[in-house]
Amino acid sequence: MSAADPADTTPVADPAPRGRATADAAPRGRAGAERAVLRLARPYLGRLVGAGLLAAATEFAGLALMATATWLLMSAAGQPPLDRLTVAIVAVRALAISRGVLRYTERLAGHDAVLRMITDVRAQVFATLAARRSAVYRSGDVLSRLVSDVEAVQDLLLRVLVPGSAAALVGVLAVAVAALISPPAAGALAVGLLVAGVALPALATAVTRRSAAEVAPLRGALATDAIDLTHGAADLAAFGATDGALHAAEERARRLARLERRLAATGFAVDAAGVLTAGSTAAAVVLAALAADVPGVLVGVLAVGALAAVEVTLALVAAARQWTQLRPGLARVAALLDGGPPTRPAEGGSTDPTGPPELRFDDVTVRYRDGAAPALDGVSLDLPAGRRIAVVGPSGAGKSTLAAVLTGTVRPVSGRVTLGGRDLSAYAEEALPRAVGGLLAEAYVFHATVRENLLLGRAGAGEEELTAATAAAGLLEWVRAQPAGWDTLVGEEGGQLSGGQRQRLALARALLAAPPVLVLDEPTEGLDPTAADAVLASALAATPAGHSVLLITHRLSGLADLDEIVVLDAGRVIQRGRHAELVATDGWYRDQWLLQAAAERGYLALAP
């Protein structure tokens, strides 16, 4: 967390939660990811350089404080007149106070600059994802990784670049000052600093990387075990398999523990080497200075200064470790930032459709991969304003593909889809949903209030409109029963709602949006038959007369009033007509209708 001291990196590989070093994002080229990320730092470069300089000044003040204090004491031992020491006394006081103040300003400046930059990163990552028409992030793990990846950018600056460059700068300054006193001693110091600031960080990087590579798969497997044992607890218990699964997970936890212990032994050897380097550098500096006949007082200054300088430089070891752990996350963020600011909205330049929005499918074929069977095979449809049609068929028949083509998510390989006479691709990305849309597959319910979720359909809708749409979806009673009413917070992914309520909320949102071409993809999924019929009827009734409706469903009930029913199978239209006609003709529709109706009649007859 950003609030913490930078000094909390541990040499154990891959600490939680960010260091999920996985192989899926191999570092690209030489620090390519870092460059891509740092491009966003440009507006804040001044602030960042300032923070780096302040950090260097802080460390240098600490070093100078120890050196000056040593000089003061060792000079005082010679019992000189007090006025010869005055400057040093003032310097010690100034350095002591300024070290603290400098550190305070450095931290504030650094965090402020970095947090400003993170705001940009978040917005840009979101914009990139928003511009990708097909980007699908379903797995919760991928999503939460995205959040922590963005924070990796923050750590790259605050825990790697700023402290790292400050340490390097102080190291160089220390050698320069030492060279003024005694070049041989400065040489000894330089060697020590190179070990502490170059060799050891390189070693730490190698060790951390290797450890992460060994630990990551085991940690991943353990996380899967944990999911299996908790989310699958009921299945395991019902089938008496809990103990076996538990033993397997315990064994894996033990193996991970053994591995972590072994890796720690290597990792902390680097820290031990750091302590040794500091001490031996100080010893070497004393020997070199004495051999060069440096005045005694200055020998002390050099020794204490060398000790402090190496300590400062060792911060590079921590920075190197941190960097290694951040790299996979940075690479993933960089991949998202790479696209640069999306430029697509200008393309086509077309805005809203003019005139009656007639939607036409003209011999449309869709293929997801070359050589694969077509998902839609020469489908033609005509949906003038006010017409209502249903698309039915077995699963995998191409119903969802049809919806995806309609909303512009999928483009046909041949044929044309036109809206108001113009090709769909001619519409601006933001304009199309205003004309064609509604309830699509996997409608998402946001962690927000009922009102906010609904207003997504139409910003600025009034209370009356909200009430009408919600009533049509059969959710109004529930909303009214909630103490907070419209401001009831619905949980993460709509978790506080039952599946049926979530579906009704999504439907209400679609009805509120009321685009001229309303697409309803399985609007009654998860509702029992009685409720499903009622909701479908009220939703259709709530749609304005001039608007056309395209209903995608697997239930054949409630379709009697529609203008046309299209039966898809394996991407082809195998039947079309009104309900009454289709029921009277042999074929898939009639078979399914009889099957469903018979079963549903039995059920409905039984209901009191």
């Binding site: 031992a77 019992q79 603290g100 089938f239 040794l276 909205p345 997504l456 549903e600």
Partner: protein
């Protein structure tokens, strides 16, 4: 949350870590001694160097002390990492074992996610606590004491000043720290909320796009991130200010020691070597206290995880049937006697009484959330009645051994969990030693043949986390295959055809009919297609159960 820097429950719950923790304390004592030794040697080296001479013995002593300290740093790190590894492995086993002890009813819902995260990645936050904070905590006790002890011998008046000023660090730390901590905690809640919002927005992107709001939302994301920045800076200012005050307190304390030392040195009243020793050692006394304090924040995540883990795994287990309890025969009459099940917020079943005779096929219908799944949960022993009881052949299920009782049940849940293992292992969940021909028969009965044929490695195909790679209908058939292998007298099906289209439903229905044949069956049905074969139909609404079919003969209708 537990605010103590060390949770004593740890020693009780992870006895294996006791020895290593003791070693860690011992190493802390040794490290403090070596810090004193190193400073003493360096002071001697410098005191002679003033005259341009080299004290070889002292320099050798210094180098030896440094070398010993470096070994000690390694040992401290290694031992603390060992503690971390041991504690994590033990707590993981405890947490996952708690699921087994408490049963699936306890783990259902949100707790499953919390537990999975905690046992999976959450506990790894303990690394920072054990390797970063804990050794520092030990040093913050041993080093000041060692420094004081050494300075008393060298110059008692300096020792007095150190002893008086030293407590200022923890006192100021506590005063400021509480303030900063409260602020930081508020900040973390806000941060997770905002992080959650960003996550929510990304997860809902397809929906935003569908309403043409994706781009417009970018500004919202920026505004939220900016709000986050402002809030963060506000708390950081407090946190950094408290660090500044602590640093100034330490600096002033060192100055309080150094000024008299310097004056006495000028007056010839103090040896240079002693003065140097005091100068080198005094800052060391204040340092570990401060760095332990600053690392405490970094290790809070680990402490929170530890607290959560210790609390969860210590949760009292509902009393279970004693070993060797009698297990009723599931081929006898099953009775619900005035059963009420109340959850925290709702009452799932109210005063339900019903009798299930052997061999009956009973369909259960009703709106979602009415309590249908709870009926099955009672039979499975996942749910215990708040009042009333469920008996089998006159034996109260609450007194029966759940494992042996469940062996007589085959369950097809609404959404079966598929494990990250091969398809064959997923089917053999309840019977790992099933011979291949029996497995093949179950695969066939569950109409899984075509699915198996379509997979790259057939039955040996590994399914991903949570069974990725199979469609809902296919998962459902895997669950049916599990049930076929179970060969149990009682079958419980919870909406086996939910989420399936007509074609898939037909396949699953066929398999279901084969499964139910000749057994007692309870099936929760959303879809009417399942009702055709039922002997009785029960309607559950608002926690009450009504019989929709007249009882044949014998018993009077309810």
């Amino acid at each position: 949350m537990n605010r103590r820097p060390f949770d004593p429950r740890l020693l009780r719950r992870v006895p294996a870590a006791r020895r290593d923790l003791a070693v860690l304390a011992l190493l802390g004592v040794l490290a403090a001694g070596l810090i004193v030794a190193q400073a003493t040697a360096l002071a001697a080296v410098l005191a002679t160097a003033v005259d341009g001479r080299l004290d070889r013995q002292a320099l050798a002593g210094f180098v030896i002390a440094v070398a010993a300290r470096s070994v000690l740093v390694w040992a401290q790190g290694t031992v603390s990492a060992r503690v971390a590894a041991t504690v994590k492995a033990t707590l993981r086993a405890d947490l996952l074992g708690a699921v087994g002890r408490h049963g699936p009813g306890w783990v259902a819902g949100q707790r499953a996610g919390q537990l999975a995260t905690l046992a999976g990645r959450g506990l790894d936050a303990l690394d920072a606590y054990f390797t970063g904070y804990l050794p520092q905590l030990v040093l913050s006790v041993t080093v000041p004491l060692a420094v004081l002890a050494r300075v008393v011998f060298a110059d008692w008046s300096s020792a007095v000043i150190i002893a008086v000023t030293l407590p200022l660090i923890p006192v100021f730390g506590a005063l400021l720290g509480w303030q900063a901590q409260a602020a930081t905690e508020r900040q973390w809640r806000r941060l997770s909320l905002l992080g959650g919002h960003f996550l929510d927005m990304v997860a809902g992107l397809p929906t935003l796009r569908a309403f043409g709001r994706a781009r417009a939302q970018t500004d919202v994301v920026r505004r939220m991130a900016d709000g986050h920045r402002v809030a963060t800076m506000k708390t950081l200012r407090i946190a950094f200010l408290s660090a500044l005050v602590l640093e100034l307190v330490a600096t002033l304390s060192v100055a309080l020691v150094a000024v008299p030392v310097g004056i006495r040195l000028l007056g010839g009243g103090l040896a240079l070597q002693t003065a140097l020793l005091v100068l080198l050692l005094t800052p060391e006394a204040y340092l570990p206290l401060r760095s332990a304090g600053s690392r405490f924040h970094a290790s809070m995540e680990g402490l929170a995880a530890l607290d959560e883990a210790l609390t969860i795994s210590a949760a009292p287990v509902a009393p279970r049937a004693a070993e060797g309890a009698t297990t009723p025969d599931a081929r006898r009459e099953i009775r619900f006697e005035a059963v009420t099940v109340a959850y925290e917020r709702t009452t799932a079943l109210r005063d339900v009484s019903l009798t299930i005779r052997p061999g009956e096929r009973i369909a259960i219908i009703g709106p979602s959330g009415a309590g249908k799944s709870t009926l099955l949960g009672l039979l499975l022993g996942f749910v215990t009645p708040t009042s009333g009881r469920v008996t089998v052949d006159g034996v109260d299920l609450a007194t029966a051994d759940p494992d042996t009782w469940r062996r007589q049940l085959a369950w097809v849940p609404q959404r079966a969990h598929l494990f990250a293992a091969s398809l064959a292992d997923n089917i053999r969940l309840g019977a790992p030693d099933t011979p291949p021909d029996v497995l093949a028969a179950a695969v066939h009965d569950a109409a899984l043949d075509d699915v198996v044929a379509g997979l790259p490695d057939g039955l040996d195909t590994l399914l991903g986390e949570r069974g990725h790679g199979l469609s809902s209908g296919q998962r459902q058939r895997v669950a049916l295959a599990r049930a076929f292998l179970r060969a149990a007298p009682v079958v419980l099906l919870d909406e086996p055809t939910a989420r399936l289209d007509t074609a898939a439903e037909a396949v699953v229905l066929d398999a279901t009919r084969r499964l139910v044949a000749g057994r007692t069956a309870l099936l929760v049905a959303h879809r009417p297609a399942l009702l055709a074969d039922a002997d009785r139909i029960l309607r559950v609404e608002d926690g009450r159960v009504t019989e929709l079919t007249p009882e044949p003969t014998g018993k009077a209708p309810r």
